[in-house]
């Protein structure tokens, strides 16, 4: 009996251990599932904690998959009516003050989006982490009293904005509670921290996130979701260039 138990342990032990600790790829797939929906409509507030004061913006965003989104700035008055349309790897911004559509391309993609710690390039991240990066599980830690896996990601393509990422993924909620984004040289470029999460029909979703461009002064940009609707119907015309305009 004892021999049979030991044999079973020898045969099933590694499998049981595997079942307890998923691979890096599995973790990323679960994370994608957690936040992915066919369509999304959200209203968020973005607070830029600048060196010389805070600035708040409110934006309504319609998203379809990973590569189509349309944003409309609702406040403040100065930015009200500004629209952004992302279609694949193309991005346009409509400025109501000049009634002008500006195509954001080339070096402009690296510029700060609305003065925040996010760049337009961040907005252009179309691929899921599984598709874009090779991942490696490098350890387990405790972060904010929660058990997390530590993952190191290396970009599959050299043109990716961040060549390396380090993720601290909550073992229960499958959300990256902290991310560090690096350049090819290994220089830290950005830090992302999830400050608050919310439950959705699909799982857990980051409600309040702090983005910090470490090359920029200030205390970072907080992005907070005020309203979120998953998988609502969105007319195709929403993601048409004709929707940019008065």
């Amino acid at each position: 009996m004892k021999k049979t138990f030991l044999l079973a342990l020898a045969l099933w032990g590694p499998t049981l251990a595997w079942a307890a600790t998923p691979t890096a790829r599995q973790i990323l797939e679960r994370m994608d599932k957690n936040t992915f929906s066919q369509t999304q409509v959200s209203i968020s507030t973005m607070t830029v904690h600048g060196e010389r004061g805070d600035r708040n913006m409110t934006v309504q965003t319609w998203t379809q998959g990973k590569d189509r989104s349309f944003s409309l700035y609702l406040a403040p008055a100065r930015d009200k009516g500004t629209k952004m349309l992302k279609l694949g790897d193309k991005l346009w911004i409509y400025y109501p003050s000049a009634d002008k559509v500006v195509a954001i391309a080339g070096h402009m993609l690296k510029n700060s989006m609305m003065g925040s710690d996010l760049s337009y390039e961040d907005l252009m991240e179309n691929s899921s982490l599984v598709e874009a990066y090779e991942a490696q599980l490098v350890g387990e830690e405790t972060l904010l009293d929660r058990k997390v896996w530590v993952l190191e990601l290396t970009a599959k393509e050299p043109e990716r904005a961040y060549q390396k990422r380090k993720l601290w993924v909550d073992q229960q909620q499958y959300l990256a509670l902290r991310q560090e984004l690096f350049a090819q040289s290994g220089m830290l470029l950005k830090r992302i921290e999830v400050k608050e999460v919310m439950a959705t029909a699909k799982g857990w979703y980051p409600k309040r996130v702090l983005f910090k461009d470490v090359l920029k002064t200030g205390l970072g940009t907080q992005w907070q979701i005020e309203e979120l609707e998953l998988d609502p119907p969105i007319p195709a015309s929403r993601f048409n260039k004709s929707s940019l305009g008065r």
């Binding site: 930015d79 911004i93 400025y95 002008k100 500006v102 510029n111 700060s112 609305m114 003065g115 002064t217």
Partner: protein, 402 residues
Amino acid sequence: MVALGVALCVLLEAWMSGARNSYIETNALLSTGHVKIQTAKAIGDHQEKALDLALLGLGDLVGELEKNQPDLEWVPRVYFGALLDASLNETGTQAPVAGMGFALWGGKSEVERLKLRQNLTQGRLPVEPNQALVSDRLFKTLGLHLGQKVTMIGSDFNGSMAVVNLEVVGTLRFGVAQLDKGALVMNLGDVQRVLALEDGATELLGFFKAGRYLPERAAALAKHYNLEHHSGETPFGPRMLTLEEQNDLESLLKTVEATGAATTWVFVLVLGVLLLNAGLMGGVRRYGELGLRLALGESKRHLYLSLVAESLVVGLTGCTLGLALGLPFALYLQNHGLDLQGMITGQTAMLISDTIRAEVSLKTLAAGLLPGLLAPLLGSSLAGLVIFGRDTSQLFKELEAT
């Protein structure tokens, strides 16, 4: 010889002084002011044009300065980088521009100070919001026409994109290569509104109402102001710089000044030595004549004084002719200048005007009169000293021998 030498000295001194003052005035007018106030961080980080480091609370700042420093005029300006888009709908033909926000109308208009009317090459000055001037070169690069609508795309004080449509109403040429490449001039109020800098400016320039740069006064003022405002202790607090403390101007101006002074005074010295030598040789050549005049009974003192007087007359005549020859040229260069466009190459922090003007002053006259008058006088005086060493009893023997 005296006349030619004096003319050259006058011309050289006027040119060198003019060039130095031209550098100072051009830089003061377009970049440094006689003094300038910026945030300590903008100065410390060498990011003088960074909008996010701009001065805020401008109204209070100017009010305080006007009250405490009434001998200066305080002028806010905004300098910024942007793109100018000439296409009508979506973005298309673009060029980078060096944007400048000057007060173009109202009580503190800078139109006269910056000679904007004189610098207009076509069109007119902006008189309404959202009108702009562009440099001639930019106008041609983008293939614009007067009245055309263009879009300025830049970053505002918050780092957001700033986009505004402008009507190009005129073109201008500052005569400074660094600015004429891609200048965009807008009214200060427009720039402040578009760049979310309503009560701010990238810099606040101070100009002495006396109309010229007073280095000692500027240095004392800046020292006092910075002490009073604990400048440097708070990153966004104001800090005052003198003209020389900006754009490496102190060392550049010292070099220009030293080179100019050395060139002028070496020339004056060489001319002085030449004229001194000429005076000496004149006296030596007249050795026989002087002996004869002594033999005929003329007193040594009278002879010496007549020699000195002659050299004085020669010097005065030479100086008069020299000034008559050199001054009109110097005055012409003072009024019209010399256009060196295309000859100024390379990058320097100092703004150099394409047209350099001479400057005639008392120093100019001194540079001409000093060698012109004194050198022949000194030469004759030295040469004449031999008169007193000659023995009257030997004069006939010397005359017989010659």
